[in-house]
């Protein structure tokens, strides 16, 4: 079934001078817009056999359960839906993030905040039948980055979502309610629609928190949907 054409106004433009790296990495010419074909409408599927028991627990997965990561313990949870508001079940969600001090465990991150020996920084899970996912992690720290003179990334977690069609593929970042750095961040500011930016900010979810254990933040994701029509004049695809 064909995908609903992407509403490009929901997304950042390719070129945003405030985010300097985008200047030489943005296509100048218009995209070739076409209806999706079977190549775009199919995509990889991943089974539960892929997912290890600690894969969605970033507090413990780096030390294989030996020793917890340093930082503010949080539950990050939510649902993956499509534009028709239907849950997207059994789809792979991957996250990566800096540690509590704002440092990534990456060969190219040279920020002088210390590495946490107990924290790796990535996790993955599959949504359940209702599109629900959850991760246990620590709240990442803000960090400085070379852009303008004194730019800092707000606390954020990177998220990659597959969906069931290759053209649903999405990578985004979620921010945390109340962080004053969101309003100052050139990368957050690439999202020009105010409602769309607000939808990247995960609210504190006290009802899902656990007393004496962790706070919770809720983040729902919406992927492209498929066209629902009785007048589908083509053979059933995938």
């Amino acid at each position: 079934m064909s995908l609903i054409p992407r509403d490009r106004s929901a997304h950042p433009p390719a070129l945003d001078p405030g985010y300097k790296t985008s200047v030489t990495r943005s296509p100048n010419l218009p995209l070739l817009a076409l209806d999706s074909s079977i190549t775009e409408e199919t995509g990889p599927t991943f089974g539960h056999g892929l997912i290890g028991p600690l894969d969605n627990n970033l507090i413990l997965n780096w030390t294989r359960g030996e020793s917890p990561a340093i930082g503010e313990r949080i539950l990050l949870h939510g649902r993956v839906l499509d534009e028709n508001a239907r849950p997207v079940p059994n789809t792979l969600v991957e996250i990566w993030q800096a540690n509590a001090g704002g440092r990534y465990r990456h060969v190219k991150d040279s920020y002088f905040a210390p590495l946490d020996p107990n924290f790796g920084g990535c996790g993955r899970t599959l949504t359940d039948e209702q599109g629900y996912y959850q991760f246990l992690t620590i709240r990442p720290g803000a960090y400085p980055w070379p852009n303008r003179g004194n730019d800092w990334r707000p606390m954020h977690i990177h998220m990659s979502i597959f969906g069931h069609a290759f053209a649903q593929r999405l990578i985004t970042q979620l921010y945390f309610e109340g962080d004053p750095l969101i309003a100052l961040c050139p990368i957050a500011a690439t999202v020009k629609d105010r409602g769309q930016l607000e939808a990247l900010v995960a609210p504190l979810d006290m009802a899902a928190s656990r007393p004496m254990d962790f706070l919770a933040y809720k983040f729902d994701v919406v992927l492209r949907g498929t066209r629902q029509t009785f007048f589908e004049n083509r053979k059933d695809g995938m």
Partner: protein, 199 residues
Amino acid sequence: MTQPLNRLRETASQTGGPYVHIGCIPSFAGLAGIYPEDLGLRAIGDNPKGEVIEITGSVLDGTGMALRDAMIESWQPDAAGVFPGQPGADPEVNGFCRFAADGETGEFRLRTVKPGAVPWPDGRMQAPHIALWIVARGINIGLQTRIYFDDEDNGADPLLGRIEHRERVETLIAKRTGPGAYRFDIRLQGPGETVFLDM
């Protein structure tokens, strides 16, 4: 007044950033051990049907410099044009692959099978192709494109036929450089800018 449409808007994309490998190809970032192996490490198993090929290339920015932090995903059918998950698909073809531009040279390498042809929505056949999705620091929303092959008949491909500036068709066609070897460079902007898709 009108009724509400009750549709949701797609979540806004954000750049994968410089550390996209931590989440998607952790071994590449030096994080081996959390997962038994990286997801999408191989497009094919040991004995796929069809011709095994290797595509080499770079993702070049507007100044002509190769990106050393790009992450690419590919999706394709098997040699008979059957996608994984469809009846009769070659179990030795995963269809999906993830690969990174080399941290020093910026070169990427995709080892896979030459895909078979698949239909266009109106029933015409498309020329054999591999779908790509490219993310990196500075790319605000993942870029969709396709690899076609210069030793296939691309003349009747419906997508290539829709490219108005005919000289740009070449940007989607990998050049055979030897037995089973192809070159495919991706230019993000400037002269020879690759045709990117909105599908």
